[in-house]
């Protein structure tokens, strides 16, 4: 892919790592530091128990089930997508 000429833009908050073949080893080090930094963030997050996660999912589904048209079905009279054919009484 051709590199685009850079346009004037406001400074971006996350640096875009540029791959320069000259600075390969210091680039590797920088990447390694970023990777460890990211892993530190991810290791420190609070995790909830699977039992709680499961209960919350089940509760959400049951609370909203009756308002879920695809789950409950839609009466023909309430279905804007259903073609309404006139009833002819013969």
């Amino acid at each position: 892919m051709q590199a685009r000429t850079s346009r004037r833009r406001r400074p971006c908050s996350v640096a875009w790592p540029r791959m320069s073949s000259k600075a390969q080893s210091s680039n590797n080090l920088a990447h390694a530091r970023r990777t460890v930094q990211q892993l530190r963030i991810e290791a420190s997050i609070e995790r909830i128990k699977v039992s709680k996660a499961s209960a919350d999912l089940m509760n959400y589904c049951s609370e909203h089930a009756r308002n879920d048209p695809l789950l409950m079905g839609i009466p023909a009279s309430d279905n804007p997508f259903k073609d309404k054919k006139p009833c002819n009484i013969l």
Binding site: R4, A43, R47, A53, A55, L57, N67, F81
Partner: protein
């Protein structure tokens, strides 16, 4: 010990910590937790409308917030805005580049966006004064194809790209507000959380990342797994753009996320993959809870959408069908068969009343 060696050791130790922390919260499985609840009965949806008008493969569709209008993008070089109830074409927008891979509808209904192999995200104003739909902005800075875009509002849009980054744009000035870098492979897809605070990006490096939009930070990585220090400088094989567009759109890698959506409460993500499975990944427990698979399904998942309550997952596959899954019991409860080619995109309207499928057969179908 050199710094590099120290970093490698620390990385390994942190990865072990993460693995242990995930195990530590496994006091049960979702399968056990749902054992007592009744399964969903058979779900049978019918094609209510067929939207005809595209002349080539449809690659993407997105519902408008009003649950009536939707936009689709096709290899025929057009964006079409449809009234899904009347099947009328509200707008047929010719594109400068026919190599379109994604489209999006702004929540306000005022704007639509698209992009693809032109590396740009083009924003169109549907409500221009003279009634003509014109390009409002061309967001150009990505050095790779645009795989996905989603509006946060009329002034902000997030894009994912084959250049391995995602970007938050200021639409008015056409500039990048934030570049989300960290993936080691082409970013293939993105989904915004229901509260608009987070988004998830999936990439060809077999991982998905959860990003905090305002904190500009990656909070979690899951999937393949985390970036490997030993793999510095080794980019995943770049996909030839022409090949990507003509063939499977999902690249040549097994197990990578082709598509995902947030579960409606924002606490979980449903992912679909080339390996024919979908998975439910809980963000707060930081692990997969369920897999949706069947030995008879051997083709890749192209797209998926949850129903309004999240109890159903509608997933489009390479075999031209949509399979409907009971999210909690991981059983298949329905099939939508009607397309003559791959189902490339699927969406459930925001009021949950209808599901729209788009296909390489050039048609969109509305089901409920």
């Amino acid at each position: 010990m050199g710094e590099m060696e120290q970093l490698r050791k620390e990385a390994d130790s942190l990865k072990d910590q993460i693995t242990a922390a995930r195990k530590a919260v496994q006091d049960t499985t979702l399968q056990e937790a749902v054992a007592e609840i009744p399964a969903v009965g058979r779900v049978q949806l019918k094609t209510r409308k067929t939207l005809r008008g595209h002349l080539a493969k449809i690659y993407a569709m997105h519902w408008g917030a009003d649950s009536t209008l939707c936009v689709s993008a096709s290899q025929d070089g057009k964006l079409i805005v449809w009234d899904s109830i009347s099947t009328n074409k509200v707008n047929a927008i010719p594109l400068k580049s026919s190599w379109v891979m994604t489209c999006a509808y702004a929540p306000s209904g005022n704007l639509v966006a698209c992009g693809g192999l032109d590396n740009m995200c083009s924003i169109y104003n549907l409500k221009g004064k003279d009634g003509n739909v014109k390009v409002m902005r061309e967001l150009a800075a990505h050095t790779g194809y645009l795989s996905c875009c989603r509006f946060l509002s009329d002034t902000e849009i997030i894009t994912s790209s084959g250049d391995c980054t995602c970007v938050l744009w200021d639409i008015e000035t056409g500039t990048q507000k934030t570049v989300f870098a960290g993936h080691q492979g082409d970013c293939m897809s993105l989904a915004v959380s229901p509260d608009f605070k987070f988004f998830i990006s999936g990439a060809c490096d077999f991982t998905a990342k959860l990003w905090d939009i305002r904190e500009e930070q990656c909070r979690q990585t899951f999937g393949g797994h985390e970036s490997d220090i030993n793999a510095i400088g080794v980019r995943m094989r770049k996909i030839s753009p022409a090949l990507l567009h003509q063939s499977s759109m999902q690249a040549c890698f097994p197990h990578h996320f082709s598509f995902f959506q947030f579960f409606p409460n924002g606490n979980a993500v449903i992912t679909g993959s080339d390996d024919a499975t979908c998975k439910l990944h809980d963000l707060r427990a930081d692990q997969d809870l369920l897999t949706y698979q069947d030995s008879s399904i051997m083709c890749g998942v192209t797209s998926l959408a949850p129903s309004l309550s999240g109890r159903l997952i509608l997933a489009g596959y390479d075999d031209f069908n949509v399979n409907i899954w009971d999210t909690l019991k991981s059983e298949r409860v329905g099939v939508l068969a009607g397309h003559d080619n791959r189902v490339s995109c699927i969406g459930v309207s925001s009021d949950g009343m209808a599901c729209c499928t788009g296909s390489w057969d050039s048609f969109l179908k509305i089901w409920n």
